[in-house]
Amino acid sequence: MNTIGNVTGVIANLVIVETEGTTSQNEICFIKLGETKLMAEVIKVVGKKAYIQVFESTRGLKVGTEVEFMGHMLEATLGPGILSKNFDGLMNDLDKMEGVFLKRGDYTDPLDFDKKFEFKVLAKEGDKVTAGSWLGEVKENWISHKIMVPFKFEGEYTIKSIKGDGEYSPKDTMAILIDRDGKKHEVTMVQKWPVKVPIRAYREKPRPFRILETGIRVMDTLNPMAEGGTGFIPGPFGSGKTVLQHNLSKNAEADLVIVAACGERANEVVEIFTEFPELDDPRTGRKLMERTTIIANTSNMPVAAREASVYTAMTIAEYYRAMGLKVLLLADSTSRWAQALREMSNRMEELPGPDGFPMDLSAIIANFYARAGFVYLNNGETGSITFIGTVSPAGGNLKEPVTESTKKVARSFYALSQERADSKRYPAIDPIDSYSKYLEYPEIAEYLNEKIAPNWTESVFEAKDILLRGKEVYEQINILGDDGVPIDYHIKYWRSELVDFVILQQDAFDKIDASSSLDRQYYMLKKTLEIAHIDFPFDSFEDVGPYFKRVINALKQMNYSEYESEKFKNNEKELEKILGEKRADAEAEKA
C-alpha cells in the first residue's frame, strides 16, 4: 500500500505534505489535482511533514489535496529506442505529447514499447551473470544495443533460460535468471534506474589515458580533452558557449552524444532538431541525429524538472557506457541547474551559502562530475563518458560559487573571454587562462606523442609560450608606443598573432574549417612553428604587421581548403612564395 498524505502548504513549486505513513528522501509522489496528477519529489522530511518540489505549475492547488507517495525515486527508463529521441527533463518523450502547448501532468512513455527489435543472443543457459552482464544485443540505429542484466540486481545469478535470436518487443521476457536462493527473476529489454544514483556496474575506473578528438584545434592541440575526462566552459552571455557545445556535438569522435539543454533557450534546441537530421556525421557518414539524444528542459519549462534533467542525461550516458560505448555528455548550462537548487533552497528558508546557493553546492557538483569517466567493464571491455558542461557566471565574473565549485572538479577549463568574442576571435577560448590538466598526465603525453608525432607535446608547449610572450610584448607596446620598442617586440607580437589566427581561431560556420583532423592539426602546427622560427629581417616596425598579415592570410586559406586537396596545395605554394620573398632578403642581408 502506498503512503498517502495531504497538502498543508504551497509556496510556488514547493509544497508541504503531511502524512502518517513512511516517506523517503527523493521519493516520487503524485498530487491529485482533480483529473490531473502532478509529479513531485521529496526533498526534505521533518517529522510528519514532507517538503516536495513539484515538477509542474502548482496553480489552483489547495490545502487538503491528496498526495500519493510511490515508494521509488525518480527513475529513468532504459532500453532500446532511446537514441535520437527528444525527452524532457523527466524523460517524457516530447514527440508523443499532443498539441502545441505542454500540458500539466502529461507524462508520456520514453520508449516505443510496440516496436520490434532484432535480438542476437550473447549468453547461454547456465552462465553466471551479474548486474550489467550482456545477455544479448539488438540493433538500435547503427549501434549494437546490449541487453543487460538489470543494474538493480545484486550479487550473482545463473541463467535458467534465454531467448534465441529473433524479433522481440522491449517488454518481452528475454531471460529468466535464478539467484543464490533459487528464486526466479524475469529480465526484459527494459529496466529502470534512479537517476540520482550512479550506475556502478564496472570493474575499474582508471585515470583517463587517451584523448577524445573534437576537431577543434584550440582544444585538441592546445588543451586536449581526455576520453572519459571532465571539462567545463564558463563565459559571459554571447561569448560562444552554446556554439562551441553544438560544434562539439557535431564533430567530436564519440559513439553517441547526449545533449542536456538545461534551462536555456528553446530556439537553440530547435536548431538541433532542425539541423541534425540533415547533417552528416563526419566519421560515419550517417546523419548526426542518429547518434544524438536530446534532453530538453528549456528555461520556460518547470524549474524542478530542470534540476532532474542533468541526472536523467547522466543516467542515460551511464547506461550506454555499460554497453562498451564512447559517450559524450554535454550540459548547457550547469548554472541553471544550480539556480534551480537555489530557488528551492530559498523557498525552504535554508541557511544560504555564498550568493544564496545551497551550502552543499560544491559537493553536489563534485558528485555529479564524478559520474563521468573511463571504465573497464566486468567483461573486460571499455566504455567512457566524457562530460563537458557550460557555466554562466553572473555578470561574467568567474569569482562565483558555480564556477569555483566546478573548477575544483573539472580537469579541463575552457574560459571564454568577452574580449576575444567582441573582436570575433572565435572560438573565444582564452589561450592563457585555459588549461587541460590531462596534458600533464604522463600517460596522456605518451599517448599523444605516439599517436601524433614524437615531441608533439613539446611543440604544444612552445605554441603556448609564443602566445604568452606575445601577450607580454603587446602590453609593452601599448605603454611605450609602436616606435618606443625594438622591432623584435613587434615580431614577437605578430608571431603570437600567427598562432592565434591559424591555430586558435576556427570558423564554426564554415563547412571545412569547422572540424580539423589530428593529422591536419599536426601539419598546421608544424608549419606555423616553422614560420615562427624564421628570423625575418625588417627595416621598420611598420613592415612587420602587413607582412605577417599576408602570411596569416595564406595559412587561413589553407584552413578553408580541403586537407591535401589541389586548392590546399596551391594555397601552400602561395604561402611559400610569400615566405620566399623574405628568405631572399635574409640571404641578401647575410651576404
Binding site: R59, G99, G263, E343, N346, A394
Partner: protein
C-alpha cells in the same frame, strides 16, 4: 476584471498581517495563484500555509485596514481574448481604458509553454530600415531581443519606429512604468501612421501602482498568443521597460521575506524573465510572436542582475549609445548582437551581406584602436587617419538610428564608404563580391 459576487465566492474580513505589497489572513479552500479582491483591489495568492494565506496586492496596500473585505474569486487572473482586442488600450487588469466591454473568451494568463519539438526554426527576416539593426543585427520573426539603453536614450521612439516598419499583423504594447508622455507618444505615432487598428496596448504608467506591472507582460503575451495561434498572425510584442518590471518583482519577493539574490533581485529572476521572453516563438502554422523589449541600464552597467539575466535569456541585444563624434544616437556595433541573424543574412538578403557587415565592423574596430592611440598621444599612420574618417561616415550614414533605407542600399552605402577610404585588399571582402558589387574601387 469584474467584481460580481457569485455563489461560490468566499468573503473574509480579518487580516492579521500587512506589508507594503502583501496581506495575510486565515482562510480555507483557497487555491494557489487564485485571484481575490481586497478592499476593492485586485490581489493574488502567493503563499498558503495551512489556514494562513498570503496575498500580493497589485495596487499596493496603502490604507488597507485589518478588517478589510477579502473576496476570493476561485480562479487565476484572466483576460478576455477575441478580435475585439484590436485597436484598444487596457489597464494592467485587462480592462479597457476608455471603458466598455470586450467580447471574447476568458483565458487564463501566464499559460503553459510551447512544446519545444512543436516550434519551427525562425527564418523570416524583419527589415526595419535602420542599418544599425538590419545590416549588423538583423531581426527574425520569433526572436526575442531587448534594447539595452540608459534612461536618457530615445529607446521608446526607436521601438515605435521599428514596430511600424516591421509589417506585423498586430503590435502589442506592454507598458510598464511608462511615463504618461511616452504613453501618449506611442498612441500618437500609431494613430498618425493609421495603425491604431493593429495595436493592442496594456498600460501601466508611472501614475499607477508599481506592483500592477507584474500583470502587464502576461496580459500582453496572452493576447499575442490568441492572434498568433488562433489567427496565425505575425505578432510583435513591445515590452517597455523590463527593468521596471523586475523592480516590481523585487518589491514583492522582499516583502515575502525571501532571501534576495544579486542587486536585491529575487533568486528566481532568471526563471521569471525567461518564462516571459520564451513566449517568443515561430509556430508551425505561420503565426509568430516576436518580442522587442527595453532594459534600461544604470550608467551603461550590463553586469547588473537585470541586464545580465536578460542577456542570458534573449537572442541578443541592441545597444543604444550616443556617438559624440557625429552627434547622433547609434546602434553600437560592438556590444550589440542578434543571435538569429545567421538564419537570414546572405540567405534572405543579398549574398555579400555577411562579408560587408564583418568588413565594416572590423574597420570600425581599427578606427577605435586608432582613436585610443590618438588619445594616448601616439602618432597616427596614414591607415589610422583613413579609418577615423571612415568611422565618421559609417556612424552618420549607417549606424545612426535616424537612417531609413532598404537593405540593398545599406550595402551600397557601405561599398561607397569602403571605396572612398580603402583599397579592396585593405577591406578583405571575398574577391567575387568585390568584382560584382564594389563600384568605386578608386
Amino acid at each position: 476584471m469584474e467584481k460580481d459576487t457569485k455563489a461560490f465566492q468566499r468573503v473574509y474580513t480579518k487580516l492579521f498581517q500587512l506589508t507594503k505589497a502583501t496581506v495575510s489572513l486565515y482562510a480555507k479552500g483557497v487555491g494557489n495563484e487564485e485571484l481575490a479582491i481586497v478592499d476593492g483591489r485586485l490581489a493574488q495568492v502567493v503563499k498558503i500555509m495551512g489556514d494562513m494565506v498570503t496575498l500580493q496586492i497589485f495596487g499596493g496596500t496603502e490604507g488597507i485596514a485589518t478588517n478589510a473585505e477579502v473576496i476570493f474569486a476561485g480562479k487565476a487572473p484572466t483576460l478576455k481574448v477575441g478580435d475585439d482586442l484590436a485597436g484598444r488600450f487596457f489597464n494592467a487588469y485587462g480592462e479597457p481604458l476608455e471603458g466598455g466591454e470586450i467580447l471574447g473568451r476568458e483565458q487564463e494568463i501566464g499559460g503553459p509553454s510551447v512544446n519545444p519539438v512543436r516550434r519551427k526554426q525562425p527564418s523570416e527576416y524583419i527589415p526595419t530600415g535602420i542599418a544599425g539593426i538590419d545590416l549588423n543585427n538583423a531581426l527574425v520573426t520569433g526572436q526575442k531581443i531587448p534594447f539595452f539603453a540608459d534612461p536618457d536614450q530615445p529607446y521608446n521612439q526607436v521601438m515605435a519606429m521599428v514596430a511600424l516598419r516591421a509589417k506585423a499583423d498586430k503590435i502589442i504594447l506592454a507598458g510598464m512604468g511608462l511615463t504618461n508622455d511616452d504613453y501618449l507618444y506611442f498612441k500618437n505615432v500609431f494613430d498618425n501612421a493609421g495603425a491604431l487598428d493593429r495595436i493592442v496596448g496594456f498600460i501601466n504608467t508611472t501614475e499607477n501602482p508599481p506592483v500592477e506591472r507584474l500583470l502587464v507582460p502576461d496580459m500582453a503575451l496572452t493576447a499575442a498568443e490568441y492572434f498568433a495561434v488562433e489567427k496565425n498572425e505575425k505578432v510583435l510584442v513591445l515590452l517597455t521597460d523590463m527593468t521596471l518590471y523586475s523592480d516590481a518583482l523585487s518589491i514583492v519577493s522582499n516583502r515575502m521575506d525571501q532571501i534576495p539574490s544579486k542587486d536585491s533581485m529575487p533568486g528566481s529572476l532568471y526563471s521569471d524573465l525567461a518564462k516571459l521572453y520564451e513566449k517568443a516563438v515561430q509556430f508551425p502554422d505561420g503565426g509568430s510572436i516576436t518580442i522587442i523589449a527595453v532594459t534600461t541600464l544604470s550608467g551603461g552597467d550590463i553586469t547588473h542582475a537585470v541586464p545580465d539575466n536578460t542577456g542570458y535569456i534573449t537572442e541578443g541585444q541592441l545597444f543604444l549609445r550616443k556617438d559624440s563624434d557625429v552627434g547622433k544616437v547609434i546602434v553600437d556595433p560592438f556590444r550589440s548582437l542578434s543571435r538569429l541573424k545567421q538564419l537570414v543574412i546572405g540567405k534572405k538578403t543579398r549574398e555579400d551581406h555577411p562579408q560587408v557587415m564583418n568588413a565594416a565592423v572590423r574597420l570600425y574596430a581599427d578606427a577605435a584602436n586608432a582613436k585610443t592611440k590618438q588619445e594616448n598621444g601616439f602618432d597616427l599612420t596614414d591607415y589610422d587617419e583613413r579609418t577615423l574618417e571612415f568611422a565618421k561616415g559609417y556612424s552618420r550614414q549607417l549606424l545612426a538610428i535616424d537612417v531609413n533605407i532598404e537593405t540593398d542600399a545599406m550595402l551600397e552605402t557601405a561599398y561607397e564608404l569602403f571605396g572612398k577610404y580603402f583599397k579592396p585588399a585593405e577591406v578583405g571582402i571575398r574577391q567575387e563580391f568585390v568584382d560584382k558589387y564594389w563600384k568605386n574601387k578608386g
